[in-house]
Structures are given as C-alpha cells and as structure tokens.
C-alpha cells in the first residue's frame, strides 16, 4: 500500500502526519486554492466594477489608493465572505498542524535531541534577550505563540510548526518542503552581480529555522555560516534541522538590529523575508547593523516580499493591506511604500554601490541577469514568485 504512506518530508525532525491530519492539511490547501481561483477574481471585479464607480460617483474622482476604498469594500457581504475564508484558513491551519505536533511531541523531542548530539554547527541561546516590540506584541501571520513562546523546557515547537506551515503555504512556489527558494534566489542575485565573490564568513539575520540559510550555505560551501533569530524554539529546531540536512551553521539568539559580533567581521550579511516583519525603525536598524558588520568590500543582500505599492492595482494594494490589517504583518504595507535605496544610503552605503529591484524566484543556483528587473506587472498584479531585493557593497 505504498500510496498511503505519509513519509513525504525529507529531513529527520520534520513533523509527520497521520491520514486524517494529512487530509485536513490537504483540505486547507485545496480550500485556499478554491478561494484564490474562484473568489479572488470576483472580489477584484467587485472592487473595480461596483465599489470604484460608486465612490467615483459620490466624490467626483477615481480612487487611486486602497485606503480610499477600504470602508466601502469591507461593508460588502461578498468581500466579507472573502475575508472570512482568508481568515479562517489562516487561523485554523495553524491549530490543525499544531495538534499534529502535540500528538508526536515526545517523539520529535527525542529526534531533535539526537540530531544535535554531535553537531557540525552550534547553538548559542540568550534567555535574557529583549524581544523587539514588532515581534513580542502580536503573533505574526496569526501563528499562535509566535516565534518566541516555549511550551516545554528546551522547546522546539514554534520551529516545527513554522517549518510544517511553510512547506504547505508556499508548497510549489518556494522549493517544497525545503522552503529554500528565497535562499537560492538570494545567492543567485549575489553571484549574478558579484561573480568573483568568495565570502569566508556569512551572517543570515532573522533566520527562523534556517530555510534560506541552508541554501546560502550550499551556494558558498567554503564559508563559515552564522545565523541569528530572536526565537529560542525556532533556533533549537533550526539547529537540529540543519544538522539533519548535514549543514554546519552557527545559530545564536540575537536581535538583528544589535548583534554581539565585532565590527567588519563578515563578508556577506543577508536576510530573507525578515524586513516585512519588523518596522520602519527596525528596517533602518538592520541596514545600519549590516553596514557595521561588513568588512570593506563585503556585501549586504536582503530579499523580501514582492508587493511594491507604486506598481499595484487597487485590488492588489488591498491584498497587501490585508496582511497588515488582519494577518498580523503590520509593516508589510509600509514596506511596499519604502524607498529601500534611501534606507541603504542612510545606513552608510554609497548610491553607486546599491542595487534595488525584483529578482525572479529560483529553487537552485541561477545567477542569470534576465531574472533581475525593476518594472512592475503591466496589469498591476503583485509579482508573486519573485522577490524584492536590495544588495550593496561596502
């Protein structure tokens, strides 16, 4: 009965599913696909063909920003249904996956412990670390307990939950269960523009469970790789995951804005999908810290979510706002309006050394110049499948 086996995840500490857990996960994914295929186009038409003309009639001018249509759109039952489906998926899939982790908690705990018994990498925790407000005051993407809450001594649950969710949420868009597309995309961007770059020390900021870190380490096999995050259960799991995947990474529990590493001690400082979970001040702090940590000639590279406000249609602006208003990603819509070049200049980089634009996502090393572009979608769609990137040399 080969086809009924659930062993579909390729590293030793990934939570597994029994039949019903997998069926529920498949159901959530299918329901989300149904919503995006059937409800998204209708919701877009509702906005463009009903709400916008109504507002235009009332005010005499066509709305250009999602803030001008929010009230009217959210008062419409069809959009309320769209919102309900989106929120229900996001709330309940976490609880479903978390239930599966509770069921196998002791078994996973033993697996995590076994993986780190004789490690190639390392783990340094700081129980006294002050967690930034943009992490501590709400649970990002409605993940109960966020990255930081321990549910047992030496807990790994947040990492296991995040790993399992990530492999489901972007199953075909970011490298399947490895969820490492952003890491390959980042490494491809660096090697595209800086082909002779041979970093000896790399630091990945806000590494979560190391999804991207492992891919970056694979792209630069001669480098010593460091990774930090504020969440202890993320790091304990990430450490075990990296060991299970045979990659030496030195994890530490630190705030990306204020690390304890020495000035000019890294050749590459990077982050993947971290900035949108910080704040305006946090982003500035991370760019400044990146500058401080780089040796002369070193490279900073941050890749993040693709929405750019100046390129988005009204509905796509609203879809981006949804993340801020309802999915506990409050900085997302501001990040889409932020001039990354200015942030890099304020952090000490020279304009001539900074690149900002979209990078087409890849699941393997592909340093291809055709994958870098600065134009938005002709119909104002968000560039899902690409990432927004900023690189700079010091």
């Amino acid at each position: 009965m080969e086809q009924y086996r659930q062993e579909h995840f390729g590293h030793a500490v990934m939570p597994q599913s029994n039949h019903d857990e997998q069926a529920m996960e498949d159901h959530f994914l299918a329901m989300r696909a149904w919503t995006s295929q059937n409800m998204d186009p209708l919701d877009r038409r509702l906005l463009d063909e009903v709400i916008v003309p109504e507002i235009e009639k009332k005010t005499g001018s066509k709305p250009t920003s999602s803030t001008q249509v929010r009230g009217a759109l959210e008062a419409h039952p069809l959009h309320q249904y769209w919102l309900t489906l989106s929120l229900f998926y996001q709330d309940r899939i976490w609880l479903s996956l978390d239930g599966a982790i509770d069921r196998q908690f002791d078994e996973l705990s033993a697996k995590v412990e076994a993986q780190v018994a004789d490690p190639k990498g390392s783990l340094r925790l700081n129980p006294d670390l002050a967690i930034p407000r943009y992490i501590s005051s709400f649970d990002h993407h409605r993940m109960p307990g966020s990255y930081t809450v321990d549910t047992a001594d030496g807990d790994f649950r947040a990492g296991a939950l995040y790993d399992r969710f990530a492999s489901t949420y972007l199953r075909n868009l970011n490298g399947g269960w490895k969820n490492d597309g952003r890491g390959h995309t980042l490494a491809s961007h660096v090697l595209d523009f800086y082909p002779d770059f041979k970093p000896r020390r790399i630091l990945d900021l806000g590494c979560s469970v190391g999804h991207s870190t492992v891919a970056i380490a694979q792209a630069f096999p001669d480098a010593e790789v460091y990774a930090l995050d504020v969440g202890a259960p993320m790091l304990r799991y990430g450490h075990a995951r990296a060991e299970a995947m045979g990659t030496a990474i030195h994890f530490s529990q630190q705030d990306a804005e204020h690390t304890d590493f020495e000035d000019e001690s890294f050749d590459l400082v990077c982050s993947s999908a971290v900035l949108h979970e910080t704040s305006a001040k946090g982003m500035r702090g991370i760019f400044k810290e990146s500058h401080r940590l780089l040796r002369k000639g070193g490279i900073m590279c941050h890749v993040d979510v693709p929405p750019r406000h100046e390129h988005l249609s009204l509905w796509d602006q609203m879809r981006c706002d949804f993340e801020s208003h309802y999915n506990n990603e409050p900085f997302m819509t501001s990040l889409a309006r932020t001039d990354w070049l200015k942030v890099a200049l304020d952090a000490g980089f020279d304009a001539a050394d900074v690149l900002v634009g979209y990078r087409k996502g890849t699941f393997f090393l592909k340093p291809d110049r055709a994958d870098f572009f600065t134009e938005g979608h002709p119909e104002g769609r968000a560039m899902i499948g690409s990432w927004y990137a900023c690189s700079a040399t010091k």
């Binding site: 019903d20 069926a23 309900t84 489906l85 109960p144 321990d150 649950r157 506990n328």
Partner: protein, 118 residues
C-alpha cells in the same frame, strides 16, 4: 513525557481579531460551517481510503458495514475522536465568542481539574 507549559498562549494568535460580518455571532456561525466542511472532507477521504483498501484486500463490502455494531473498545475510540471533532468545530465558535471574563473562568477550571487530579 515532556511537561508542557504556556499552552494558553498557543491556543489562539495574539493580535488582529476583526468582526467581519455584522456581528460576532454571524462570524461564529460562518466559522462553524467552515470547520464542518473540513471535517466532512477528512471523513470522506478516510472512507475513500477505507473502501480502496478493502477492495484491494478482497474483504467486506457496504452490507457488512450496515450491520456492524461497535464493541466497547470501538465505542471508547469513537468517543475520543468525537471530542476532537467537537473541539475543532464547536471550539471555533467558542473562541470567537469568549469574553475576557470567561477566559478567567476557563483558566480556573483548568487549575481546578489539575488540583483535583493531584
């Protein structure tokens, strides 16, 4: 067995909790319906798996299921998974409608239960 802690903190996410339709009650009903949809889909998948496995093994058919009477072990097993279904379906509405004052009562009842079993 690991001693778990902070379980209340992972029961629901901290942050945005909007009322989408005209009231919490309507939102709760929408949640109930959507949760039931999930239960039905999983159940159908399980039946589908069962039918395929039975067919492959050349075993019993629908008529045997019609006359099946669960024994004590099966009844206990069903009782346990039903509680899980109720938690997922009915818990959806409870989590939507729980006022702050009742959260304390909920926490206290957990303590009461723990003290009683000490």
């Amino acid at each position: 067995m690991a001693e778990r802690m902070n379980l209340d903190r992972k029961a629901r996410s901290k942050g945005s909790q909007p009322v989408v339709f005209e009231s919490e009650t309507v939102d709760a009903l929408a949640g109930l319906v959507l949760a039931l949809l999930g239960e039905v889909v999983v159940l159908k998948d399980r039946l589908d798996a069962n039918e395929r496995l039975l067919k492959a093994a050349g075993l019993h058919g629908p008529a045997d299921i019609d006359t099946f009477a669960p024994d004590a072990e099966a009844r206990a097993y069903r009782g346990a998974y039903r509680q899980g279904i109720y938690e997922r379906v009915l818990g959806t509405a409870r989590d939507k409608l729980m006022p702050e004052a009742l959260s304390d009562q909920h926490d206290y009842e957990g303590v009461l239960d723990a003290v009683t079993r000490d």
